[in-house]
Amino acid sequence: MAIQRLLVVLCVAWPCHAFAADVTELSEEAYLGEMPTVLTVSRLAQPVDESPSAVTVIDEETIRASGVVDLADIFRLVPGMYVGHNAGYFHTVNPTVSYHGLTDAYSRRMQVLIDGRSVYSPIYGGVQWSDIPLAIEDIARIEVTRGPNSASHGANSFLGVINIITKHTSETLGNMAVLTSGSDRKGLTLRHGGKEGDLQYRITAGLKNDQGIQARNDDKRIRILNLRADYRLNAQDELEFQFGYNGGDREEGMLEEDALVFLPRTKEVYNHFEQLNWRRTLGPEAEFKIQAYHSYDVSDDHVRSADLSFLPVPLLNPRLAFDHEVMTERYDLEAQHTFAPSATTRLAWGGGLRLDRTRSEVFLGTDDTERFRLSRLFGHLEWNPVQRLIVNAGAMLEHNSMTGSDLTPRFSVNYKLAPGHTLRAGISTATRTPTLLEEKFNMRILIPTAVPGLTLFEQQFLNPGRLSPERITSRELGYQGQVGALSLDARLFHDQIRDVIAQYRIEPFPHPADLTPISDRTLGNRNSSDLTVHGFEAQAQLRLGSHTRIIGNFSHIRINPDMDTTFTSSSEASRFEELQASMPVNSFSLLAWHRFGSGWMGTVGYYQLGETKMPGDGNHVDSARHWDLRLARSFTLGRTQNQISLTSQNAFDYDYQEFARYNSMQRRTYLQYRVDF
């Protein structure tokens, strides 16, 4: 283990033993000496009944009990969330995860953070879930904010925020191996965690070969490497370093849907990140932290066209071929100070800077690197004037080089009616910055001909740019209750979204005189009309002793486009109207597990979704339901903890589709063996 050796060397070079202790003798130091502050302000989750918005927490036990191997699947347990196992075919055969819909293959209206690092893509928007450099076994918990939260996380924290928190290295000491084997997926994850004085680290490496679903060109070979090191300088200061890599081959394309350019092929993806955090504890309620990260992501695609000899002109080459590389890179720096100005108030404030660099000659029509700069200032105040009342107020002031400045405030009041019963009323605003593809998608495919002076072309997209950000104002009324073993969270929401960016057809379109288009229409984006999303959602959790847990979720959501606006064309109106069906009206999910004793454990999952008609690459699919079943047996062998489990997703092999009719789901069964030693 070269890395381990390197860490040992680093440890020798640095004073690593600020807290080294004799483990055979007990001295008065044990009682009277210092201890590092472990549960710092930022590590402590806000209790759900004091949170300014609805929050779903998915803990490690739930993740393990569910048996999911694709991270996106866990979000089926969040009320109001939609998960499509596969989305489109155009450039991303990837799961789509949206909160309250309004999504095509790219879920652009939800922020995703891993340990505070945004993995939201500046070019597509949303997250390429298979490309995240993260092993599911390293996740400590996931906090999902249901509702906008630009005040805390800035633009694009629009309909919701997923915050994935990984385990501290002190929780992953020792070794772990997880072997997954099913007819259509194989995987191996290895982890080593160690300790040298005040330095703790872990290395996680994973391989996953996934054949995806039948009739789709969606095989994935995923290689993951993660490194995390936590180093304690003294009782107040802590450094955290992370490195992550994800790379491998991904199959793309679909013959039936796009017979011209994006044909079945294999692309290569590669990404990595480096992150450094410094935390200083300033007191029981005060902390200062600085976070810096860099991420780099490349996808390398080689695209071939179909045989174009059907065109009425002789071509130099009837099969076009071109390299299609997309590169995005992000530098981000943020500082935050949390403290209690008085006995009844807590304040968190800070600021950040970001630079996004993106290059894609095919998509953006230029080989220049696009630069997107962002600066932000935020403040959040929590006021607890009397015991029953908590007032939260916050705002984010942002400036970016694409759409200028925005202020997004939010305000909420939590009132404890009685112990275990809390009412919450809130209003929150957010913006969504147009993605680079919405703003600058200028894709033109040149088709040279044998006729002198004649060059044909296909303009796939044309965007003049100058889009405004989308804006949301969300109002909600929530209830949070805890009665004995049952906890319940329910809310009514009414979200108004203005200047929705939607695709429209441009016909005819301007083009250079020396080029001849093969079609006189193309597609572009513009700020279209407004829409409202309103409805009701609830989550309930029942813990029967420490052996049984049941989680149930329900949502009822209506999306109402404002159709009073005069649209420029019927196609714009219908595109806009499509958003209406981008979320099932009703959805329901349930996960229940029970420990039978002697190490046996059984899990049942049930998921039911109403019909949808996803925009973009998606299309109409009927309402669907499926069952997941899992049986696990844990046992100890010597000093090792072992678990063997058998998971069957869609156990009864119901025939149903997700996102589009070409994504037909079947039963997928796999055996997993995990050993901790």
Binding site: F19, A20, A21, D22, V23, T24, E25, L26, S27, E28, A30, Y31, L32, G33, E34, M35, P36, T37, V38, L39, V41, R43, L44, A45, Q46, P47, V48, D49, E50, D59, E60, A140, R141, K167, H168, S170, E171, L173, G174, K195, G197, D198, Q200, D230, R232, A235, P284, E285, P419, Q482, S546, R639, Q641, D676
Partner: protein
């Protein structure tokens, strides 16, 4: 036991009527190992409580001081901390030596090999019953208390089980032999317990393992009851503990109440004065509505009276 109780009584009766000087050590040597903030705090409080008695000599000596410390017959030696007690215990004769700011296992180890047999101590360890009562006050719903023991603390498992049972709690104990066993032992323990009680052991609880213990317990949403103010600051929900000043107050009482010619010191004592510390942030995050630390301390004291 009976004898010391009688002596105590014999000593207390004149105390009520006369000045205590007749009944107390006139010469006290406070022996310190390494001076530290805690020994300074002890000495300050100890002197403050005894200093106004006329004719009393209190001298402070370091174990590294020259000339080397020689037992002064007839003086009470108050040894502050493990190092000082080890030093004093090596002296010959039956010098009265009272160890303070010392863990009970360390005291017992020193006594076992000491040439001096007039050793006693006010230990830092809180009686298990006091900790169990605090636990019960904080978490009335809790039934199963997880306790992770190491090679040293495993000796107290009997006392812990009894103290738990006396408070209608069930102690679930696991013992580890190496630090590597910590995580594998902790997880199953947390699954079975409603809360974790920390019992001092250099293998299980030290600054290096606090992260694993506190973060893992927090992830399981199980509160940890610590044994020091520092543990509470680090992230334990609460702790009952005695400060150097608390111990100094008790040591001053010992010095006051036992006559100089008394052969044997009173037996080892647990701390009499203590405080409860609460970590408000942790309580809040775990969704626990707790009384304030002062009223918890008062309730505990009242119950002991």
């Amino acid at each position: 036991m009976l004898r010391s109780a009688l002596t105590l009584l014999a000593c207390l009766i004149p105390l009520m009527a006369f000045a205590p000087a007749a009944c107390a050590y006139d010469r006290i040597v406070v022996l310190v190992g390494n001076t530290s903030n805690t020994s300074d705090e002890f000495i300050r409080e100890f002197k403050g409580r005894l200093g106004n008695r006329s004719g009393r000599q209190i001298s402070v000596r370091g174990i590294a001081d020259t000339p080397a410390f020689q037992a002064d017959k007839g003086a009470l030696v108050v040894a502050v901390g493990v190092q000082a007690l080890q030093y004093a215990a090596r002296q010959n004769g039956n010098q009265a030596v009272l160890g303070v700011l010392i863990p009970q296992p360390a005291f017992e180890k020193i006594r076992a090999s000491a040439s001096n047999n007039n050793l006693s101590a006010i230990v830092l360890d809180q009686p298990p019953s006091r900790q169990m009562r605090l636990l019960h006050m904080l978490l009335p719903q809790a039934k199963n208390i997880g306790i992770l023991l190491g090679p040293i603390s495993t000796r107290s498992n009997g006392f812990l089980a009894k103290a738990a049972a006396d408070n209608d709690l069930k102690a679930i104990m696991a013992t580890i032999q190496t630090e590597g066993d910590l995580t594998p032992a902790l997880k199953p323990l947390l699954e079975l317990s409603d809360a974790l009680l920390a019992v001092p052991d250099p293998l299980v609880h030290q600054p290096g393992t606090a992260q694993t213990l506190l973060l893992t317990s927090y992830r399981y949403q199980k509160p940890v009851i610590g044994y020091s103010q520092a543990y509470v600051t680090a992230g334990a929900l609460a702790a009952v503990y005695s400060s150097p000043s608390d111990i100094a107050r008790q040591a001053a009482e010992v010095a006051d109440q036992f006559p100089e010619r008394q052969k044997a010191l009173p037996p080892l004592q647990p701390p009499r004065y203590f405080s409860v510390g609460i970590n408000r942030q942790v309580a809040r995050s775990l969704g626990l509505d707790l009384q304030d630390a002062e009223s918890l301390t008062e309730s505990l004291m009242k119950e002991e009276q």
